[in-house]
Point group: C2
Chain length 290, copies 2
DNA sequence: CAAGCCGCATCAGCGTTGCTTATCGGGAGT
DNA sequence: ACTCCCGATAAGCAACGCTGATGCGGCTTG
Protein backbone atom coordinates (compact mmCIF):
# COMPACT_ATOMS: atom_id res chain seq x y z
CA UNK A 1 0.00 0.00 0.00
CA UNK A 2 1.97 2.90 -1.31
CA UNK A 3 0.97 6.16 0.37
CA UNK A 4 1.12 7.62 -3.10
CA UNK A 5 -1.68 5.34 -4.21
CA UNK A 6 -3.56 6.11 -1.04
CA UNK A 7 -3.33 9.81 -1.71
CA UNK A 8 -4.74 9.49 -5.20
CA UNK A 9 -7.47 7.24 -3.84
CA UNK A 10 -8.69 9.77 -1.31
CA UNK A 11 -8.52 12.47 -3.95
CA UNK A 12 -10.61 10.45 -6.34
CA UNK A 13 -13.09 9.65 -3.61
CA UNK A 14 -13.30 13.28 -2.57
CA UNK A 15 -13.79 14.64 -6.07
CA UNK A 16 -15.83 11.66 -7.23
CA UNK A 17 -13.95 11.75 -10.49
CA UNK A 18 -10.83 10.15 -11.91
CA UNK A 19 -10.17 12.96 -14.35
CA UNK A 20 -10.60 15.72 -11.78
CA UNK A 21 -8.29 13.93 -9.40
CA UNK A 22 -5.73 13.54 -12.16
CA UNK A 23 -5.84 17.26 -12.83
CA UNK A 24 -5.45 18.11 -9.15
CA UNK A 25 -2.57 15.72 -8.62
CA UNK A 26 -0.77 16.58 -11.82
CA UNK A 27 -1.14 13.15 -13.35
CA UNK A 28 -2.86 11.93 -16.46
CA UNK A 29 -6.23 10.30 -16.14
CA UNK A 30 -4.62 7.06 -17.20
CA UNK A 31 -2.19 7.11 -14.30
CA UNK A 32 -4.98 7.64 -11.81
CA UNK A 33 -6.92 4.77 -13.29
CA UNK A 34 -3.87 2.56 -12.94
CA UNK A 35 -3.32 3.70 -9.37
CA UNK A 36 -6.81 2.71 -8.36
CA UNK A 37 -6.54 -0.57 -10.21
CA UNK A 38 -3.25 -1.31 -8.42
CA UNK A 39 -4.77 -0.55 -5.03
CA UNK A 40 -7.80 -2.70 -5.71
CA UNK A 41 -5.68 -5.58 -6.89
CA UNK A 42 -3.34 -5.23 -3.93
CA UNK A 43 -6.18 -5.30 -1.43
CA UNK A 44 -8.22 -7.79 -3.37
CA UNK A 45 -11.38 -5.74 -3.10
CA UNK A 46 -13.27 -3.23 -5.18
CA UNK A 47 -12.86 0.20 -3.64
CA UNK A 48 -14.81 2.42 -6.01
CA UNK A 49 -17.92 2.13 -8.07
CA UNK A 50 -17.53 3.70 -11.48
CA UNK A 51 -20.26 5.66 -13.12
CA UNK A 52 -21.03 7.22 -10.83
CA UNK A 53 -17.70 7.23 -9.00
CA UNK A 54 -18.10 6.56 -5.31
CA UNK A 55 -16.59 4.45 -2.55
CA UNK A 56 -17.84 0.91 -1.95
CA UNK A 57 -18.28 -0.45 1.56
CA UNK A 58 -14.63 -1.51 1.63
CA UNK A 59 -13.69 1.84 0.16
CA UNK A 60 -15.51 3.71 2.92
CA UNK A 61 -13.53 1.70 5.39
CA UNK A 62 -10.28 2.58 3.67
CA UNK A 63 -11.20 6.26 3.67
CA UNK A 64 -11.53 6.19 7.44
CA UNK A 65 -8.03 4.83 7.70
CA UNK A 66 -6.45 6.95 5.03
CA UNK A 67 -6.86 10.34 6.67
CA UNK A 68 -5.09 9.55 9.94
CA UNK A 69 -2.53 7.52 8.08
CA UNK A 70 -1.49 10.29 5.73
CA UNK A 71 -1.57 12.69 8.64
CA UNK A 72 0.82 10.55 10.63
CA UNK A 73 3.04 10.25 7.64
CA UNK A 74 3.25 14.01 7.27
CA UNK A 75 3.81 14.28 11.00
CA UNK A 76 6.71 11.86 10.92
CA UNK A 77 8.37 13.65 8.03
CA UNK A 78 7.84 17.07 9.63
CA UNK A 79 9.15 15.89 12.96
CA UNK A 80 12.33 14.48 11.54
CA UNK A 81 13.17 17.38 9.27
CA UNK A 82 12.51 19.73 12.16
CA UNK A 83 15.34 18.11 14.06
CA UNK A 84 17.75 18.63 11.21
CA UNK A 85 16.80 22.06 9.94
CA UNK A 86 18.01 25.29 11.47
CA UNK A 87 15.85 26.76 14.23
CA UNK A 88 13.44 29.26 12.79
CA UNK A 89 13.13 32.83 13.86
CA UNK A 90 9.36 33.09 13.84
CA UNK A 91 7.06 31.27 16.21
CA UNK A 92 3.65 29.90 15.36
CA UNK A 93 1.17 28.93 18.02
CA UNK A 94 -1.96 26.89 17.46
CA UNK A 95 -4.46 27.69 20.19
CA UNK A 96 -8.04 27.19 21.22
CA UNK A 97 -9.77 30.48 22.04
CA UNK A 98 -9.89 29.94 25.77
CA UNK A 99 -6.41 28.50 26.06
CA UNK A 100 -4.73 31.89 25.96
CA UNK A 101 -4.82 32.99 29.55
CA UNK A 102 -3.37 36.33 30.67
CA UNK A 103 -0.23 34.70 32.02
CA UNK A 104 0.41 32.97 28.74
CA UNK A 105 -0.08 36.17 26.79
CA UNK A 106 2.43 37.89 29.04
CA UNK A 107 5.00 35.21 28.32
CA UNK A 108 4.88 35.65 24.57
CA UNK A 109 7.91 37.22 22.95
CA UNK A 110 7.46 40.78 21.75
CA UNK A 111 7.67 40.11 18.04
CA UNK A 112 7.54 37.39 15.46
CA UNK A 113 4.60 35.46 16.87
CA UNK A 114 1.82 34.06 14.74
CA UNK A 115 -1.32 32.90 16.50
CA UNK A 116 -3.55 30.42 14.79
CA UNK A 117 -6.92 29.80 16.39
CA UNK A 118 -8.17 26.30 15.66
CA UNK A 119 -10.68 23.82 16.91
CA UNK A 120 -9.19 21.74 19.68
CA UNK A 121 -9.29 18.57 17.64
CA UNK A 122 -7.13 20.13 14.94
CA UNK A 123 -4.38 21.37 17.18
CA UNK A 124 -2.48 18.13 17.64
CA UNK A 125 -2.49 17.71 13.89
CA UNK A 126 -1.22 21.23 13.35
CA UNK A 127 1.65 20.72 15.77
CA UNK A 128 2.45 17.28 14.44
CA UNK A 129 2.67 18.40 10.83
CA UNK A 130 4.74 21.41 11.74
CA UNK A 131 2.05 23.91 10.81
CA UNK A 132 2.57 25.25 14.32
CA UNK A 133 5.56 25.03 16.62
CA UNK A 134 3.53 24.80 19.79
CA UNK A 135 -0.07 24.09 20.62
CA UNK A 136 -2.14 25.28 23.52
CA UNK A 137 -5.23 23.26 24.28
CA UNK A 138 -7.64 23.75 27.12
CA UNK A 139 -10.52 21.81 28.49
CA UNK A 140 -12.42 20.71 31.54
CA UNK A 141 -10.88 17.94 33.55
CA UNK A 142 -10.59 16.61 37.05
CA UNK A 143 -7.75 18.27 38.92
CA UNK A 144 -4.33 17.09 37.72
CA UNK A 145 -5.97 14.76 35.22
CA UNK A 146 -4.64 15.04 31.71
CA UNK A 147 -6.94 16.10 28.91
CA UNK A 148 -7.55 13.21 26.58
CA UNK A 149 -6.23 14.34 23.24
CA UNK A 150 -6.34 12.34 20.03
CA UNK A 151 -2.91 10.84 19.52
CA UNK A 152 -2.25 11.58 15.90
CA UNK A 153 1.46 11.32 16.51
CA UNK A 154 3.97 10.91 19.30
CA UNK A 155 3.64 14.34 20.87
CA UNK A 156 4.65 15.61 24.26
CA UNK A 157 2.05 17.40 26.33
CA UNK A 158 2.34 18.95 29.74
CA UNK A 159 -0.05 20.97 31.81
CA UNK A 160 0.80 24.64 32.16
CA UNK A 161 -2.17 26.03 34.02
CA UNK A 162 -5.20 25.04 36.03
CA UNK A 163 -7.81 27.41 37.31
CA UNK A 164 -11.34 27.12 38.63
CA UNK A 165 -14.27 27.24 36.28
CA UNK A 166 -17.17 29.55 36.79
CA UNK A 167 -20.74 29.51 35.63
CA UNK A 168 -21.66 32.78 33.98
CA UNK A 169 -25.15 33.93 35.01
CA UNK A 170 -27.16 37.05 34.32
CA UNK A 171 -26.90 39.34 37.35
CA UNK A 172 -30.62 38.97 37.90
CA UNK A 173 -30.51 35.20 37.98
CA UNK A 174 -31.87 33.68 41.22
CA UNK A 175 -28.65 31.74 41.75
CA UNK A 176 -26.34 34.68 41.05
CA UNK A 177 -25.82 35.44 44.74
CA UNK A 178 -24.60 31.98 45.64
CA UNK A 179 -20.94 31.69 46.59
CA UNK A 180 -20.61 28.45 44.69
CA UNK A 181 -22.74 26.26 42.47
CA UNK A 182 -23.11 22.56 42.13
CA UNK A 183 -24.02 21.17 38.77
CA UNK A 184 -26.97 19.52 40.47
CA UNK A 185 -28.37 22.99 41.17
CA UNK A 186 -28.50 23.62 37.46
CA UNK A 187 -30.19 20.53 36.10
CA UNK A 188 -33.14 22.61 34.97
CA UNK A 189 -31.09 25.39 33.45
CA UNK A 190 -30.67 26.10 29.78
CA UNK A 191 -27.15 26.26 28.41
CA UNK A 192 -25.33 27.99 25.64
CA UNK A 193 -23.81 25.43 23.33
CA UNK A 194 -20.64 26.85 21.87
CA UNK A 195 -18.66 24.08 20.21
CA UNK A 196 -16.33 26.56 18.53
CA UNK A 197 -15.34 28.29 21.72
CA UNK A 198 -13.32 25.41 23.02
CA UNK A 199 -15.29 24.44 26.09
CA UNK A 200 -17.58 21.72 24.88
CA UNK A 201 -20.52 21.00 27.08
CA UNK A 202 -20.25 17.28 26.61
CA UNK A 203 -17.58 17.16 29.26
CA UNK A 204 -20.20 18.45 31.65
CA UNK A 205 -22.62 15.83 30.41
CA UNK A 206 -20.37 12.98 31.33
CA UNK A 207 -19.18 14.56 34.56
CA UNK A 208 -22.65 15.46 35.64
CA UNK A 209 -24.16 12.07 35.19
CA UNK A 210 -26.97 10.83 33.05
CA UNK A 211 -29.11 13.95 32.91
CA UNK A 212 -28.78 15.57 29.53
CA UNK A 213 -27.75 19.18 29.37
CA UNK A 214 -30.35 21.16 27.52
CA UNK A 215 -29.20 23.91 25.26
CA UNK A 216 -31.08 27.15 24.74
CA UNK A 217 -28.95 28.68 22.04
CA UNK A 218 -26.15 27.41 19.90
CA UNK A 219 -23.30 29.78 19.10
CA UNK A 220 -21.02 28.68 16.34
CA UNK A 221 -18.48 31.46 16.49
CA UNK A 222 -15.34 31.51 18.58
CA UNK A 223 -15.58 34.91 20.19
CA UNK A 224 -15.80 34.71 23.95
CA UNK A 225 -16.95 38.29 24.31
CA UNK A 226 -20.05 37.47 22.33
CA UNK A 227 -20.60 34.35 24.35
CA UNK A 228 -20.35 36.27 27.60
CA UNK A 229 -22.75 38.91 26.33
CA UNK A 230 -25.24 36.23 25.36
CA UNK A 231 -24.98 34.74 28.81
CA UNK A 232 -25.44 38.14 30.44
CA UNK A 233 -28.53 38.73 28.36
CA UNK A 234 -30.04 35.54 29.70
CA UNK A 235 -29.87 33.41 26.59
CA UNK A 236 -28.37 30.59 28.54
CA UNK A 237 -25.62 29.67 30.95
CA UNK A 238 -22.07 28.94 30.07
CA UNK A 239 -18.95 27.85 31.88
CA UNK A 240 -15.72 29.74 31.53
CA UNK A 241 -12.35 29.75 33.26
CA UNK A 242 -12.40 32.31 36.00
CA UNK A 243 -9.95 34.72 34.43
CA UNK A 244 -12.29 35.12 31.48
CA UNK A 245 -15.27 36.10 33.57
CA UNK A 246 -14.13 39.50 34.80
CA UNK A 247 -15.53 42.67 33.29
CA UNK A 248 -18.64 41.16 31.81
CA UNK A 249 -21.33 43.79 32.33
CA UNK A 250 -24.60 42.45 33.58
CA UNK A 251 -23.25 39.02 34.37
CA UNK A 252 -22.02 37.31 37.49
CA UNK A 253 -19.56 34.47 37.59
CA UNK A 254 -20.09 31.87 40.27
CA UNK A 255 -17.48 29.16 40.82
CA UNK A 256 -18.51 25.63 40.02
CA UNK A 257 -17.77 23.57 43.10
CA UNK A 258 -19.20 20.20 42.18
CA UNK A 259 -18.29 18.17 40.31
CA UNK A 260 -14.71 19.13 40.99
CA UNK A 261 -13.57 20.28 37.61
CA UNK A 262 -10.82 22.66 36.68
CA UNK A 263 -10.04 24.47 33.49
CA UNK A 264 -6.80 22.94 32.44
CA UNK A 265 -4.46 24.24 29.78
CA UNK A 266 -1.87 22.02 28.19
CA UNK A 267 1.13 22.79 26.09
CA UNK A 268 1.77 20.35 23.31
CA UNK A 269 4.86 20.12 21.18
CA UNK A 270 6.75 17.78 18.94
CA UNK A 271 10.13 16.32 19.60
CA UNK A 272 12.49 19.07 18.63
CA UNK A 273 12.11 22.29 20.53
CA UNK A 274 14.46 24.89 19.18
CA UNK A 275 14.74 28.63 19.07
CA UNK A 276 11.94 30.80 20.42
CA UNK A 277 9.60 27.85 20.74
CA UNK A 278 11.91 26.21 23.25
CA UNK A 279 12.24 29.41 25.25
CA UNK A 280 8.50 29.93 25.45
CA UNK A 281 7.83 26.32 26.36
CA UNK A 282 10.40 26.42 29.11
CA UNK A 283 8.98 29.60 30.52
CA UNK A 284 5.40 28.36 30.52
CA UNK A 285 6.18 25.05 32.15
CA UNK A 286 8.44 26.69 34.73
CA UNK A 287 5.68 29.13 35.65
CA UNK A 288 3.36 26.24 36.25
CA UNK A 289 5.80 24.32 38.35
CA UNK A 290 6.46 27.22 40.69
CA UNK B 1 8.47 8.15 2.52
CA UNK B 2 7.83 4.71 1.22
CA UNK B 3 6.65 2.35 3.98
CA UNK B 4 9.02 -0.14 2.44
CA UNK B 5 11.96 2.09 3.23
CA UNK B 6 10.55 2.69 6.68
CA UNK B 7 10.34 -1.01 7.32
CA UNK B 8 13.95 -1.61 6.39
CA UNK B 9 14.94 1.38 8.50
CA UNK B 10 13.34 0.03 11.65
CA UNK B 11 14.85 -3.38 10.94
CA UNK B 12 18.31 -1.92 10.57
CA UNK B 13 17.85 0.12 13.73
CA UNK B 14 16.62 -2.90 15.65
CA UNK B 15 19.42 -5.22 14.53
CA UNK B 16 22.03 -2.46 14.50
CA UNK B 17 23.35 -3.89 11.28
CA UNK B 18 22.76 -3.37 7.58
CA UNK B 19 23.81 -6.88 6.65
CA UNK B 20 21.67 -8.57 9.28
CA UNK B 21 18.69 -6.53 8.24
CA UNK B 22 19.28 -7.45 4.63
CA UNK B 23 19.31 -11.12 5.56
CA UNK B 24 16.10 -10.81 7.56
CA UNK B 25 14.30 -8.88 4.86
CA UNK B 26 15.50 -11.00 1.99
CA UNK B 27 17.44 -8.23 0.30
CA UNK B 28 21.08 -7.81 -0.49
CA UNK B 29 23.16 -5.61 1.75
CA UNK B 30 23.48 -3.22 -1.14
CA UNK B 31 19.75 -2.72 -1.37
CA UNK B 32 19.47 -1.98 2.33
CA UNK B 33 22.24 0.54 2.09
CA UNK B 34 20.44 2.23 -0.79
CA UNK B 35 17.17 2.23 1.13
CA UNK B 36 18.71 4.04 4.05
CA UNK B 37 20.48 6.47 1.76
CA UNK B 38 17.21 7.19 -0.04
CA UNK B 39 15.40 7.83 3.25
CA UNK B 40 18.14 10.10 4.52
CA UNK B 41 18.18 12.06 1.30
CA UNK B 42 14.41 12.31 1.24
CA UNK B 43 14.24 13.64 4.79
CA UNK B 44 17.39 15.68 4.49
CA UNK B 45 18.82 14.36 7.71
CA UNK B 46 21.20 11.66 8.84
CA UNK B 47 19.22 8.89 10.49
CA UNK B 48 21.89 6.39 11.40
CA UNK B 49 25.45 6.51 12.56
CA UNK B 50 27.60 3.90 10.89
CA UNK B 51 30.25 2.00 12.70
CA UNK B 52 28.69 1.39 15.09
CA UNK B 53 25.23 1.41 13.51
CA UNK B 54 22.72 3.27 15.66
CA UNK B 55 20.03 5.89 15.32
CA UNK B 56 20.89 9.56 15.47
CA UNK B 57 18.65 12.03 17.30
CA UNK B 58 16.53 12.45 14.20
CA UNK B 59 16.55 8.71 13.74
CA UNK B 60 15.26 8.14 17.26
CA UNK B 61 12.44 10.47 16.46
CA UNK B 62 11.62 8.57 13.30
CA UNK B 63 11.62 5.30 15.19
CA UNK B 64 8.94 6.62 17.50
CA UNK B 65 6.78 7.42 14.51
CA UNK B 66 7.53 4.33 12.51
CA UNK B 67 5.97 1.76 14.82
CA UNK B 68 2.49 3.26 15.02
CA UNK B 69 2.66 4.14 11.36
CA UNK B 70 3.39 0.64 10.15
CA UNK B 71 0.82 -0.67 12.59
CA UNK B 72 -1.85 1.60 11.17
CA UNK B 73 -0.88 0.57 7.71
CA UNK B 74 -1.34 -3.08 8.56
CA UNK B 75 -4.60 -2.23 10.27
CA UNK B 76 -5.94 -0.46 7.21
CA UNK B 77 -5.04 -3.32 4.93
CA UNK B 78 -6.48 -5.91 7.30
CA UNK B 79 -9.67 -3.95 7.76
CA UNK B 80 -10.32 -3.59 4.06
CA UNK B 81 -9.54 -7.15 3.10
CA UNK B 82 -11.73 -8.31 5.98
CA UNK B 83 -14.69 -6.65 4.32
CA UNK B 84 -14.08 -8.42 1.06
CA UNK B 85 -13.09 -11.90 2.20
CA UNK B 86 -15.52 -14.59 3.16
CA UNK B 87 -16.50 -14.75 6.83
CA UNK B 88 -14.30 -17.18 8.67
CA UNK B 89 -15.49 -20.09 10.68
CA UNK B 90 -13.16 -19.77 13.63
CA UNK B 91 -13.23 -16.96 16.12
CA UNK B 92 -10.24 -15.41 17.81
CA UNK B 93 -10.57 -13.27 20.90
CA UNK B 94 -7.86 -11.06 22.33
CA UNK B 95 -8.49 -10.56 26.03
CA UNK B 96 -6.94 -9.21 29.17
CA UNK B 97 -6.96 -11.78 32.00
CA UNK B 98 -9.67 -10.06 34.04
CA UNK B 99 -11.85 -9.16 31.08
CA UNK B 100 -13.36 -12.61 30.81
CA UNK B 101 -16.22 -12.50 33.25
CA UNK B 102 -18.49 -15.51 33.83
CA UNK B 103 -21.24 -14.00 31.67
CA UNK B 104 -18.87 -13.55 28.78
CA UNK B 105 -17.58 -17.08 29.07
CA UNK B 106 -21.14 -18.37 28.96
CA UNK B 107 -21.80 -16.50 25.75
CA UNK B 108 -18.92 -18.07 23.86
CA UNK B 109 -19.82 -20.52 21.14
CA UNK B 110 -19.17 -24.14 21.92
CA UNK B 111 -16.37 -24.73 19.45
CA UNK B 112 -13.90 -22.98 17.27
CA UNK B 113 -12.84 -20.28 19.68
CA UNK B 114 -9.25 -19.21 20.18
CA UNK B 115 -8.45 -17.09 23.19
CA UNK B 116 -5.36 -14.96 23.16
CA UNK B 117 -4.37 -13.35 26.44
CA UNK B 118 -2.49 -10.12 25.87
CA UNK B 119 -1.48 -7.02 27.70
CA UNK B 120 -4.21 -4.42 27.46
CA UNK B 121 -2.10 -2.08 25.37
CA UNK B 122 -1.64 -4.74 22.70
CA UNK B 123 -5.27 -5.61 22.26
CA UNK B 124 -6.32 -2.73 20.05
CA UNK B 125 -3.38 -3.52 17.81
CA UNK B 126 -4.32 -7.18 17.67
CA UNK B 127 -7.89 -6.37 16.67
CA UNK B 128 -6.83 -3.72 14.20
CA UNK B 129 -4.40 -5.94 12.37
CA UNK B 130 -6.84 -8.79 12.25
CA UNK B 131 -4.83 -11.00 14.59
CA UNK B 132 -8.05 -11.21 16.58
CA UNK B 133 -11.65 -10.76 15.52
CA UNK B 134 -12.75 -9.21 18.77
CA UNK B 135 -11.01 -7.73 21.77
CA UNK B 136 -12.11 -7.61 25.37
CA UNK B 137 -10.43 -5.00 27.51
CA UNK B 138 -11.15 -4.17 31.11
CA UNK B 139 -10.06 -1.48 33.47
CA UNK B 140 -11.03 0.79 36.29
CA UNK B 141 -13.09 3.79 35.35
CA UNK B 142 -15.72 6.10 36.70
CA UNK B 143 -19.20 4.68 36.13
CA UNK B 144 -20.25 4.90 32.46
CA UNK B 145 -16.96 6.53 31.55
CA UNK B 146 -15.17 4.95 28.65
CA UNK B 147 -11.76 3.42 29.15
CA UNK B 148 -9.17 5.49 27.38
CA UNK B 149 -7.63 3.18 24.86
CA UNK B 150 -4.83 4.05 22.46
CA UNK B 151 -6.38 4.74 19.10
CA UNK B 152 -4.15 2.82 16.80
CA UNK B 153 -6.86 2.66 14.20
CA UNK B 154 -10.51 3.52 13.72
CA UNK B 155 -12.03 0.89 15.96
CA UNK B 156 -15.44 0.63 17.52
CA UNK B 157 -15.67 0.01 21.24
CA UNK B 158 -18.67 -0.40 23.45
CA UNK B 159 -19.06 -1.27 27.07
CA UNK B 160 -20.44 -4.72 27.79
CA UNK B 161 -20.20 -4.97 31.55
CA UNK B 162 -19.68 -2.95 34.67
CA UNK B 163 -19.37 -4.35 38.12
CA UNK B 164 -18.12 -3.13 41.49
CA UNK B 165 -14.50 -3.54 42.44
CA UNK B 166 -13.43 -5.08 45.69
CA UNK B 167 -10.30 -4.87 47.74
CA UNK B 168 -8.99 -8.31 48.57
CA UNK B 169 -7.76 -8.54 52.14
CA UNK B 170 -6.47 -11.35 54.29
CA UNK B 171 -9.30 -12.59 56.51
CA UNK B 172 -7.32 -11.50 59.54
CA UNK B 173 -6.87 -7.95 58.33
CA UNK B 174 -8.26 -5.32 60.70
CA UNK B 175 -10.38 -3.81 57.94
CA UNK B 176 -11.74 -7.13 56.69
CA UNK B 177 -15.02 -6.77 58.58
CA UNK B 178 -15.93 -3.42 57.09
CA UNK B 179 -18.91 -3.40 54.74
CA UNK B 180 -17.12 -1.01 52.37
CA UNK B 181 -13.76 0.64 52.10
CA UNK B 182 -12.68 4.07 51.01
CA UNK B 183 -9.34 4.43 49.39
CA UNK B 184 -8.51 6.98 52.07
CA UNK B 185 -8.72 4.15 54.62
CA UNK B 186 -5.91 2.40 52.84
CA UNK B 187 -3.32 5.11 52.38
CA UNK B 188 -0.94 3.27 54.65
CA UNK B 189 -1.50 -0.13 53.11
CA UNK B 190 0.92 -2.05 50.95
CA UNK B 191 -0.26 -3.16 47.55
CA UNK B 192 0.46 -5.91 45.13
CA UNK B 193 1.67 -4.50 41.88
CA UNK B 194 0.57 -6.77 39.07
CA UNK B 195 1.03 -5.02 35.76
CA UNK B 196 0.46 -8.19 33.81
CA UNK B 197 -2.90 -8.96 35.38
CA UNK B 198 -4.67 -6.15 33.65
CA UNK B 199 -5.66 -3.97 36.59
CA UNK B 200 -2.88 -1.48 36.80
CA UNK B 201 -2.56 0.33 40.07
CA UNK B 202 -1.81 3.63 38.41
CA UNK B 203 -5.48 4.18 37.83
CA UNK B 204 -5.86 4.13 41.59
CA UNK B 205 -3.01 6.57 41.91
CA UNK B 206 -4.67 9.19 39.79
CA UNK B 207 -8.11 8.52 41.19
CA UNK B 208 -6.93 8.59 44.77
CA UNK B 209 -5.08 11.85 44.56
CA UNK B 210 -1.50 12.74 45.11
CA UNK B 211 -0.52 10.12 47.68
CA UNK B 212 1.62 7.48 46.09
CA UNK B 213 0.51 3.87 46.30
CA UNK B 214 3.23 1.85 47.89
CA UNK B 215 3.81 -1.63 46.60
CA UNK B 216 4.88 -4.53 48.74
CA UNK B 217 5.37 -7.16 46.08
CA UNK B 218 5.46 -7.09 42.35
CA UNK B 219 3.90 -9.98 40.47
CA UNK B 220 4.76 -10.18 36.83
CA UNK B 221 2.60 -13.12 35.86
CA UNK B 222 -0.95 -12.97 34.64
CA UNK B 223 -2.59 -15.59 36.80
CA UNK B 224 -5.30 -14.18 39.01
CA UNK B 225 -5.41 -17.23 41.22
CA UNK B 226 -1.83 -16.65 42.23
CA UNK B 227 -2.53 -13.00 42.80
CA UNK B 228 -5.47 -13.81 45.04
CA UNK B 229 -3.42 -16.30 46.99
CA UNK B 230 -0.70 -13.73 47.51
CA UNK B 231 -3.25 -11.28 48.79
CA UNK B 232 -4.75 -13.88 51.13
CA UNK B 233 -1.30 -14.61 52.51
CA UNK B 234 -0.88 -10.98 53.42
CA UNK B 235 1.72 -10.00 50.86
CA UNK B 236 -0.29 -6.97 49.91
CA UNK B 237 -3.69 -5.77 48.88
CA UNK B 238 -5.14 -5.90 45.44
CA UNK B 239 -8.30 -4.78 43.73
CA UNK B 240 -10.35 -7.16 41.65
CA UNK B 241 -13.76 -7.13 40.04
CA UNK B 242 -16.27 -8.66 42.44
CA UNK B 243 -16.96 -11.77 40.45
CA UNK B 244 -13.31 -12.72 40.70
CA UNK B 245 -13.19 -12.54 44.46
CA UNK B 246 -15.37 -15.49 45.36
CA UNK B 247 -13.83 -18.72 46.57
CA UNK B 248 -10.52 -17.31 47.66
CA UNK B 249 -9.66 -19.20 50.83
CA UNK B 250 -8.35 -17.05 53.63
CA UNK B 251 -9.26 -13.80 51.95
CA UNK B 252 -12.15 -11.39 52.22
CA UNK B 253 -13.32 -9.07 49.49
CA UNK B 254 -14.63 -5.71 50.59
CA UNK B 255 -16.25 -3.40 48.07
CA UNK B 256 -14.44 -0.18 47.30
CA UNK B 257 -16.93 2.61 47.79
CA UNK B 258 -14.79 5.70 47.29
CA UNK B 259 -13.61 6.86 44.87
CA UNK B 260 -16.54 5.62 42.85
CA UNK B 261 -14.85 3.29 40.45
CA UNK B 262 -16.25 0.35 38.58
CA UNK B 263 -14.61 -2.47 36.77
CA UNK B 264 -15.61 -1.87 33.20
CA UNK B 265 -15.26 -4.28 30.34
CA UNK B 266 -15.34 -3.12 26.77
CA UNK B 267 -15.72 -4.96 23.53
CA UNK B 268 -13.62 -3.67 20.70
CA UNK B 269 -13.93 -4.61 17.07
CA UNK B 270 -13.03 -3.42 13.61
CA UNK B 271 -15.38 -2.36 10.92
CA UNK B 272 -16.58 -5.60 9.46
CA UNK B 273 -18.30 -7.97 11.82
CA UNK B 274 -19.15 -11.20 10.11
CA UNK B 275 -19.82 -14.76 11.03
CA UNK B 276 -19.45 -15.93 14.62
CA UNK B 277 -17.76 -12.70 15.66
CA UNK B 278 -20.87 -10.74 14.77
CA UNK B 279 -23.09 -13.14 16.67
CA UNK B 280 -20.98 -12.98 19.80
CA UNK B 281 -20.69 -9.22 19.67
CA UNK B 282 -24.42 -8.84 19.31
CA UNK B 283 -25.10 -11.14 22.20
CA UNK B 284 -22.64 -9.44 24.53
CA UNK B 285 -23.89 -5.95 23.80
CA UNK B 286 -27.52 -7.03 24.05
CA UNK B 287 -26.86 -8.61 27.45
CA UNK B 288 -25.43 -5.34 28.64
CA UNK B 289 -28.27 -3.26 27.34
CA UNK B 290 -30.91 -5.29 29.07
C1' DC C 1 52.76 -3.49 14.30
C1' DA C 2 51.09 -5.78 10.26
C1' DA C 3 47.77 -8.72 8.11
C1' DG C 4 43.25 -10.29 7.58
C1' DC C 5 38.48 -9.76 8.03
C1' DC C 6 34.18 -7.80 8.57
C1' DG C 7 30.89 -4.46 7.24
C1' DC C 8 29.10 -0.38 4.81
C1' DA C 9 29.45 2.53 0.51
C1' DT C 10 29.67 2.77 -4.40
C1' DC C 11 29.28 1.40 -9.25
C1' DA C 12 27.66 -0.85 -13.47
C1' DG C 13 24.13 -3.62 -15.42
C1' DC C 14 19.59 -5.14 -16.07
C1' DG C 15 14.77 -6.19 -15.24
C1' DT C 16 10.64 -4.17 -13.77
C1' DT C 17 7.75 -0.57 -12.55
C1' DG C 18 5.17 3.48 -13.54
C1' DC C 19 4.04 7.34 -16.31
C1' DT C 20 2.54 9.21 -20.87
C1' DT C 21 0.23 9.25 -25.32
C1' DA C 22 -3.16 7.14 -28.03
C1' DT C 23 -7.28 4.46 -28.60
C1' DC C 24 -11.42 1.92 -27.31
C1' DG C 25 -16.01 1.20 -25.06
C1' DG C 26 -20.12 2.52 -22.80
C1' DG C 27 -23.56 5.59 -20.70
C1' DA C 28 -26.09 10.10 -20.62
C1' DG C 29 -27.79 14.10 -22.59
C1' DT C 30 -29.59 16.41 -26.84
C1' DA D 1 -29.40 8.38 -33.32
C1' DC D 2 -25.62 11.25 -32.70
C1' DT D 3 -22.30 13.20 -29.76
C1' DC D 4 -19.90 14.14 -25.75
C1' DC D 5 -17.80 12.71 -21.59
C1' DC D 6 -15.40 9.62 -18.79
C1' DG D 7 -13.06 5.58 -17.45
C1' DA D 8 -10.45 1.30 -19.17
C1' DT D 9 -6.83 -0.56 -21.97
C1' DA D 10 -2.54 -0.93 -24.99
C1' DA D 11 2.02 0.30 -26.44
C1' DG D 12 6.23 2.77 -25.69
C1' DC D 13 9.72 4.83 -23.02
C1' DA D 14 12.16 6.52 -19.12
C1' DA D 15 13.34 5.99 -14.51
C1' DC D 16 13.59 3.38 -10.56
C1' DG D 17 15.21 -0.43 -7.79
C1' DC D 18 17.49 -4.64 -7.14
C1' DT D 19 21.66 -7.56 -7.86
C1' DG D 20 26.54 -8.69 -8.10
C1' DA D 21 31.10 -6.86 -7.90
C1' DT D 22 34.37 -3.78 -6.01
C1' DG D 23 36.34 -0.19 -2.91
C1' DC D 24 37.53 1.47 1.60
C1' DG D 25 37.85 2.07 6.55
C1' DG D 26 38.02 0.14 11.20
C1' DC D 27 38.51 -3.59 14.38
C1' DT D 28 40.43 -7.84 15.61
C1' DT D 29 44.28 -11.25 15.70
C1' DG D 30 48.79 -13.24 15.60
Amino acid sequence: MDPHLLRTYVTVARLASFSEAARELGYTQSAVSQHIAALEQDLGAALLTRRPVGPTAAGERLLEHAGPLLLRLDAARADVVRMASAPEHGLTLAVTPTALGPRTVAALPAAGVTLRALARADIPAAVATGAADLGLVDGLAAPSDPLGLPDVAPLTTCGIAEEPVCVLLPAAHPLARRPGLRLADLVDARWLDAPGAGLPLDRLHTAGGAGGVRTALRYEGTDLRTLATLAAAGHGLTVLPRSFTTDVPGAVAVPLVAPRLVHRTELIHGGALRGPAAALARELTDQHRE
